[in-house]
Symmetry: C2
Subunit: 304 residues, 2 copies
């Protein structure tokens, strides 16, 4: 099985929705990405947690076949904590608390056993940390995927550009693509971002699906219309995890594989939003996943 | 060729975008619907204009093979006039002027030559007028499609419900579906609207495409990502025109045909937004239309 490194926060989340409110539960981009990728490949997690992070949460990851050698535990420090609240329509949220804690001085140490990885997924973190991981790998992976967000455009724009120049795929939402490129038109924005480095630009549109741009080609995967959306937290990270996991499983990086990977990512993300926190993505069967992928096919198939 | 009646305003529009500003040009829902439908069937327009409406505009319709016997000309009155302004992102617009004029007391007279029509498209107008047309047909068409908007929900809700109960297909945007049903979830909203009468509920999502719900089935056609959007006016009406035109051409109303019709409608709408007013949809070749439909196939095809 191809070695896949997942950089991303492993953290505490506290989530409030119109329906439900959680205590501190397991969260973080890296957690969602690893859970999703675990259905297709063997994720090697690269993260940092504090001494307050429960052993049972680490065990949860291990039980899913996730390699945890790259998760540093800083006993004297506290784990990254995010708390957010969703409004009635679930499309907008407010961040209540962000405690960086261990993430403030995160120095990603790549274990020797992670070297020679074939695939690298850089979850949303400081572009400096993302770039450090690339630089600390002795061999460049076949495909490097990065996620980012507007926050880094606001405070570390030049650093972000340097990191973007090094990756093959970037995932970003439509507003962020506009901010990064200065273009309102999404196709134009994607062309400008491709000129910054990435071969593939994936625009995440939430309930409206995802679009990938590659050279002059475009593929649009709509999102599965869901009766019930309980908690959108981690949907984008789950998408990324399904995406990189499928690519690692196929061990191909051509456009056809990228398109299929987007469908897989979208299918997995639909599980995440149906339950609170990571519950929706933690324990799926291969049959359930195949059914969801088949539902996508039905959703978009026509005979004309 | 199957007879198709198109009820809808034939009017003057004055449009302002960040790029361009028009004088009073030909516009109105009925105009866009007829232009789009004319590529596939012979639209029979049902509308009213004033004495100020130029003969050259009527000729434009006739040249596209549109039957104009059902367009009343009220010599002493003025044509409906709408003026609107789009903001930078083209997703929001402000109505500057609405002069109802001839539409205020529009009493749709169905010419004898329109009787026994096979298909009926009710463009966005008062639900009372829409229902009058249905009632004035001696034989019920095989498929009745209606478009509507939030305005009628605000001021004529009960009348609207009565009309909705009589149709087979309703086209509506996502916010309007939520308002009409009281459900935020689009699949739940669609189910509630189906319970009001229509077999098919089509949710128009603009740049995010369109979704149709039928029983427990769903089909999602994304919109073609366009480099340049010049003027969104009439996009929804063009969609409706391509939709009903294709159905009339095929003379079938099963779900597979409805799905294909949505793709055709989306393809035609993409022409409309690329130019000011009706220019984009007025003069397309069959080859151009086929290429646009093929582009949709490419956009959504994957092998998984």
């Amino acid at each position: 099985m191809k070695k896949t490194i997942i950089l991303g926060s492993v953290a505490f989340d506290a989530i409030e929705t119109p329906f439900e409110k959680t205590d501190k539960i397991i969260g973080g981009a890296g957690t969602y990405i690893c859970f999703a990728a675990s259905y297709f490949s063997k994720p090697h997690a690269l993260a940092v947690v504090g001494g307050d992070f429960p052993q049972e949460y680490i065990s949860k990851l291990e039980q899913k076949g996730i390699v945890i050698d790259g998760i540093q535990i800083k006993k004297q420090e506290k784990t990254f904590f995010w708390s957010g609240k969703y409004f009635d329509n679930m499309n907008q949220r407010e961040t209540l608390i962000t405690e960086l804690n261990v993430l403030e001085h995160f120095d990603p140490i790549v274990p020797d056993s992670y070297q020679n990885a074939d695939y690298l997924m850089l979850g949303n973190l400081s572009p400096i940390v993302q770039r450090q991981v690339i630089e600390r790998l002795t061999k460049r992976p076949k495909l490097i995927v990065m996620d980012t967000m507007n926050f880094w455009m606001d405070i570390l724009f030049d650093e972000l550009l340097q990191t973007i120049a090094l990756v093959d795929v970037i995932t970003i939402n439509d507003e962020e693509a506009r901010q990064l490129s200065g273009e309102y038109s999404i196709p134009k924005a994607a062309q400008k971002i491709m000129a910054m480095g990435p071969k593939y630009v994936i625009i995440k549109k939430g309930e409206h699906g995802a679009i990938v741009f590659y050279k002059n080609k475009t593929f649009y995967a709509p999102a599965l219309p869901l009766e019930t959306v309980i908690d959108p937290t981690g949907a984008g990270d789950t998408f990324a995890g399904g995406f990189i996991g499928y690519i690692a499983q196929q061990d191909k990086t051509d456009f056809e594989t990228i398109k299929n990977a987007i469908v897989v990512g979208s299918a997995l993300a639909s599980f995440t939003v149906e339950q609170m926190g990571t519950q929706g993505i933690e324990n799926r069967t291969q049959t359930e996943i195949n059914e969801r992928i088949a539902a996508f096919k039905t959703l978009t198939s026509y005979t004309l």
